[in-house]
């Protein structure tokens, strides 16, 4: 069945040679040890986070009146709620670990050097996105931890002279943490950052395909 559909599409678009050459038969080093897997792990965690995140977004309402109650509902009252939110939480934590190990491996192997400078730079951008994800995601349950961590975190740019106060206000959508902060962080967490990370991931992977994995030492 799958083969039939594939051939039907191929008859019209002629994608088979491309898929064979660029994906399936693409040569890869035979002697890659497990330290080369941290990037793949991170991507897999990204997929887990997307699926569990979209699932939770079905129930979650980003308003100070409802955020806490909807998270409580989706965690404790819905079938598998604890698991879905638990996977999202732990995958996010583990993702920081795998990103860190991935970067460490690339650094130790000097794989960021010419000609792969651009891939390192997109990688650092992805790292910043991952941290932004965890910071914005933290506020969404609207519990004590969420409120105070966000209050302190968004106050940090305020220490910069002249523009600091303005940055804090733009981050919060006002001078205080409130309804506007929550909807801002929600949009960043589920719309803005995911589209940015998707675009950068495509670039990151396309460059690996183009240049190949750095030769193992």
């Amino acid at each position: 069945m799958f083969r039939k559909v594939y051939y039907w599409i191929d008859e019209r678009l002629n994608i088979r040679p491309y898929i064979r050459k660029e994906i399936l038969d693409k040569p890869v080093h035979g002697r890659l040890n497990f330290t080369y897997c941290f990037g793949g792990m991170t991507f897999f965690l990204f997929l887990l986070l997307t699926i569990t995140g979209v699932s939770m977004a079905i129930y979650y309402v980003p308003s100070p009146d409802h955020a806490y109650d909807t998270v409580d509902y989706l965690t404790y009252q819905i079938f598998m709620g604890k698991v879905i939110r638990g996977v999202h939480h732990w995958a996010a934590n583990l993702m920081v670990v795998t990103v860190f190990l991935h970067m460490l491996r690339v650094y130790i192997h000097g794989a960021y050097k010419k000609p792969r400078e651009l891939n390192w730079i997109t990688g650092v951008m992805l790292f910043v996105l991952v941290l932004s994800f965890s910071f914005t995601g933290y506020l969404l349950p609207w519990d004590q931890k969420a409120y105070w961590a966000t209050k302190v975190g968004t106050q940090m740019p305020g220490s910069v002279p002249l523009i600091g106060d303005y940055v804090v206000r733009v981050l919060r959508g006002g001078s205080k943490i409130g309804a506007l902060t929550l909807s801002r962080f929600y949009v960043l967490h589920v719309i803005f950052l995911p589209s940015m990370i998707a675009a950068l991931l495509i670039g990151h992977f396309a460059m690996i395909r183009r240049q190949g994995i750095a030769e193992p030492l």
Partner: protein, 166 residues
């Protein structure tokens, strides 16, 4: 290729840049304005009732909860904030509980007679002046007035040493 073609081509190239630039520039202004507008709104001050004078035994700092109706964007809600109030004879002092470092609530430690911040270990004396830790300046003060038996504080904090009732 004749010179005419080159001019035509050049013209179109310039046209693409000009039109692209126009579209980006004119859309940037409303979009950035739209996103940041509520952030720039200045808060209006108001007087908030924190309780009767009798609720605050004199001589020490007691927790005052400032509860007021606010409009947070579209959301009309009861906003709650914390301050520390000391009644000393005729003099009433209201110290903002917001740490001047990164905005955690400070608490009054009766044993050491200090204000302490739980977040990054800032310590203030009983006047709200910094003794130890990272806070850059003293705790803000809140203006106080008494109406009948009720204590009212102003919602906009004043830096230590400025304004009345400090």
């Amino acid at each position: 290729m004749s010179p005419k073609d080159i001019t035509r081509r050049r013209l179109m190239e310039i046209g693409i840049k000009v039109m692209g630039g126009f579209i980006s520039a004119t859309s940037a202004f409303p979009i950035i304005g739209f996103i940041t507008a509520p952030s720039l709104k200045q808060e209006e001050d108001k007087w908030i009732d924190v309780g009767a004078i009798n609720d605050f035994p004199p001589g020490t700092y007691i927790k005052g909860v400032m509860e007021s109706q606010v409009k947070d964007g579209w959301y009309i809600t009861k906003e709650r904030a914390l301050c520390w109030i000391k009644v000393d004879g005729d003099k009433i002092v209201a110290v903002s509980a917001t740490c001047s470092h990164l905005g955690c609530n400070v608490y009054w430690d009766e044993a050491s007679k200090n204000f302490k911040c739980p977040c990054h270990a800032g310590v203030y004396d009983s006047e709200g002046k910094v003794i130890k830790g990272p806070p850059p300046r003293a705790l803000d003060r809140l203006q106080v007035k008494v109406e009948g038996e009720r204590i009212l504080v102003n919602s906009i904090p004043v830096p230590y040493g400025e304004g009345k009732n400090v």
